[in-house]
Symmetry: C2
Subunit: 162 residues, 2 copies
DNA sequence: ATGTCTGCAAAGCTTTTGCACTGAT
DNA sequence: ATCAGTGCAAAAGCTTTGCAGACAT
């Protein structure tokens, strides 16, 4: 417990440093809101949308406006501290990314659950893109289908209800 | 020319057949709107959003409501005649898919251009997913970065303006 | 002191929904 | 003759914008 806490404290210090450097380089202000949002994001794992983040912070009695959340998302995206996803819905999903190993996403069409997998397609992606003289910044692989949980709860009715 | 026309006529017949079968199996009505929309989509290549489709059809004096377009998109998605993308924006992009070979997408962060590449990650994707006991329906790989065109128009200022 | 950033509310856009009418079956 | 499907307009939901005030520099 104590050890786990310490690790995440270390992570938090690191990402704060990244943010500080970013803000300084770009001559943006170091507002308490920006650090509070970053802290909230890195105190969690998994995906979240802006509305959820808004509620999380509200629950902790830290009032931030949605406008600031959206602004800060752009900032953190640019600082490469988070990534943005659109898993087929019109709601942007975000995910903290500093210190995480690269991974791709399995999205269950039945229950909506998103889980992570390692595919190691990095090299292939880079190779293919470069053949098209395209410089890769990042990539997203979304794999849609049916998760284990939903398969077991649907035995016998798989082919008939499409 | 004549040959090319014939090929696309053949394609059109095929997709109409797929739609007809789908509608019959699912006991949906064969409305003229549904066929007109399908025809419009398959008379084009590349990506489009609902608003663009609406304008295309309007220009041809075929009046369809946006509601019907959205409904029909769902139908065509289910019939696997189109696929849906969300390239980082909040606008759903669609693409006809029948008769096309599988491909992935290069999205230029500079100019927004979307182009296609073959990556052949199909097998890897399936393999990785199945190890997680996940049954793959389909997948989307989006590669973000800078296209050839934008690179050449930005020589010398690549590292400094991030 | 200056001007960026925040909060709030309004506006914007895409998508969905409700309802009366139309037309495929 | 039914009732699914269409069109229209209103509503909904996420995101952006405008502006006044707050606060990091």
């Amino acid at each position: 417990m104590a050890e786990k806490k310490q690790v995440s404290t270390r992570l938090l210090e690191n990402v704060k440093k990244v943010l500080t450097d970013y803000l300084e380089v770009h001559q943006h202000r170091k507002t308490p809101e920006r650090y509070a949002i970053l802290e909230e994001i890195y105190s969690r794992t998994g995906h979240f949308d802006v509305e959820a983040l808004f509620m999380y912070m509200k629950d902790k009695n830290y009032r931030v406006s949605r406008a600031t959340l959206y602004n800060t998302m752009d900032l953190l995206l640019d600082a490469k501290l988070i990534v943005k996803h659109q898993f087929g819905k019109n709601i942007a999903q975000f995910e903290r990314v500093y210190g995480n190993r690269p991974h791709d996403h399995l999205i269950c069409l039945e229950c909506g659950e998103v889980s992570e997998v390692d595919t190691e397609i990095e090299a292939t992606v880079k190779d293919v893109a470069e053949r098209a003289e395209f410089t890769v910044a990042h990539h997203s692989l979304y794999i849609y289908g049916m998760c284990k949980k939903c398969k077991t709860s649907k035995v016998g009715s798989l082919e008939n209800n499409n």
